[in-house]
Assembly symmetry: C2
Homo-oligomer: 228 residues x 2
C-alpha cells in the first residue's frame, strides 16, 4: 500500500462527484486514491463506475433511520471502510443519514458536498427550492459532516448565478460543474493536512499554491489552486 | 416637478446606502431623485446627509411594533411620502418593521437591502452571524419588501468571499462596497419599468445595456450594467 490517502466514497446515485474524485486522483492532482465505494442502493450507477475503475464496490442496504437494521448498516460501513484502510470518507450524493459509529470512527474525516450555499437550502431537491425561491445566486458547499444534516463546518463554497427562467435541471447542471472542481480541491487540502478546524471555522493553513484564474460568472472561496 | 422617479429613503443609521443612491441620481446614472428622507431616529446621520443635499429630512418616531403609536407612524410615513410625490420607497438600513399602510400605499414599490445572501441569515447583526457560522461566501440582497422581514421577491444579489480570520467589521465593509453598487442598479431597473414580479420571481425585462466587467472576487447576478 502506498502512502496515498485512501478514500472511501459513499454514494446513492449516478456518482458524478465520485467520478470527479477518481479522475483527480488518477491525474495526480490529489495525493489520494479511492479505495472503496459504498452504496445503500444495489443499482446505483456509482457502484458501476467503481467497478469500471477496479475499485471495490460494496452494497450495504440501510434500514429505516434509527432502526436496528440502520445501526447494523452503520457498523458494517465502518468495518468495510476500515478493511480498506480508509482515512477519509467522502459522501457524494449519499442520501441517508449516517449513524454515530461512522462519525466516531472517522472524527473530522467525513466530508459531504451539498448543492446549495449553506446555511441556505439544507435538505433535498434544493436546486428546485432555490429556483422557486427566486434567488439570483446559488451554489454548492463542501463541509465536514456532523450528526445533523448539512450543518457541519464549511471547507469551501462556490457561487453561481441563477438566470431568469432557469429550470431546476439547468441550475443543477451549473452547480454540478463547480462541485466537480471544489470537492477534489477540498480533498487535496485535507490530504495535505492543511485544514484546521476550530469550532465551526475551517482555516486553510500552510503555503498557498499557484491559484487558478477566476472563472467568469463564478465565485469560489477559498480560491482554487491551479488545475482545479 | 420633472418626470424623474421620486424616491423616499427610510434609514435608521449612518446612511451610506442613502449616499450611494443620492450620488447615483446626481451623477445621472439613475433616472430618479431622492425626494425625502425619513428616519425613526432624530440623530440618524442619514438625516444630516439629506440636509446637506437639500433633501427634506423628516424624523418620525415609531412606537413599539403593533402599538397605537406604531400604527400612527405608519400612517404618518405614508402621508409624508405622498406629500413629496414619492413613487418608490427605499429602505436603507431602516431597523423597524413597516406597517400595513406603507406596503398598501406602495404595492411592489418598497425595496429593501439586506447584508446577507438571503434566504441565509435574515435578521440583524448578520455579518457577525456569517463569520461565526464559518461560511466562505457571504453577500447582500436587494428585494421587494413584504409584510415579513427579509422575505420578499429578490431583485439582485452580490456574493463576496469570507476570508479566514475576517472580523464581522471587515466582512461588513466588503459587503457594503457591493451594496453601494447593486442598490442604485436595482433602482434604475425599477425606474425604467424593467422589473416584472411573478410570485417570488423577479424577471429583468427589456433590452440589456452594456455590462460592467466582472469585479475579481465578486459575483453579482443579474450582472451590473456599465457604470455601477
Amino acid at each position: 500500500m502506498s502512502d496515498l490517502l485512501r478514500i472511501g466514497v459513499m454514494a446513492s446515485g449516478g456518482g458524478t462527484d465520485l467520478q470527479s474524485i477518481i479522475d483527480a486522483c488518477q491525474a495526480g492532482k490529489v495525493p489520494a486514491t479511492v479505495a472503496v465505494v459504498i452504496s445503500n442502493r444495489a443499482d446505483a450507477y456509482a457502484l458501476e463506475r467503481a467497478r469500471r475503475h477496479d475499485v471495490p464496490a460494496v452494497h450495504i442496504p440501510v434500514g429505516k433511520t434509527g432502526s436496528p437494521e440502520w445501526a447494523q448498516a452503520d457498523a458494517e460501513q465502518v468495518r468495510v471502510l476500515r478493511d480498506h484502510g480508509v482515512g477519509l470518507v467522502c459522501l457524494a450524493g449519499y442520501m441517508r443519514i449516517n449513524g454515530p459509529a461512522l462519525l466516531a470512527a472517522f472524527p473530522r474525516a467525513v466530508m459531504n458536498i451539498h448543492p446549495a450555499l449553506l446555511p441556505a437550502f439544507p435538505g433535498v431537491n434544493v436546486q428546485a427550492m432555490a429556483v422557486e425561491h427566486g434567488v439570483k445566486i446559488a451554489g454548492t458547499t463542501v463541509h465536514f459532516a456532523d450528526p445533523e444534516f448539512d450543518t457541519g463546518p464549511i471547507i469551501i463554497q462556490a457561487a453561481v448565478p441563477v438566470r431568469d427562467d432557469d429550470t431546476a435541471d439547468e441550475l443543477a447542471a451549473r452547480i454540478l460543474a463547480q462541485e466537480h472542481r471544489i470537492y477534489p480541491q477540498a480533498i487535496k487540502w485535507h490530504a495535505e493536512g492543511r485544514l484546521q478546524v476550530d469550532g465551526r471555522i475551517v482555516r486553510l493553513t500552510g503555503p498557498g499554491a499557484e491559484l487558478a484564474p477566476d472563472t467568469p460568472g463564478v465565485l469560489i472561496s477559498p480560491p482554487l489552486e491551479a488545475g482545479f
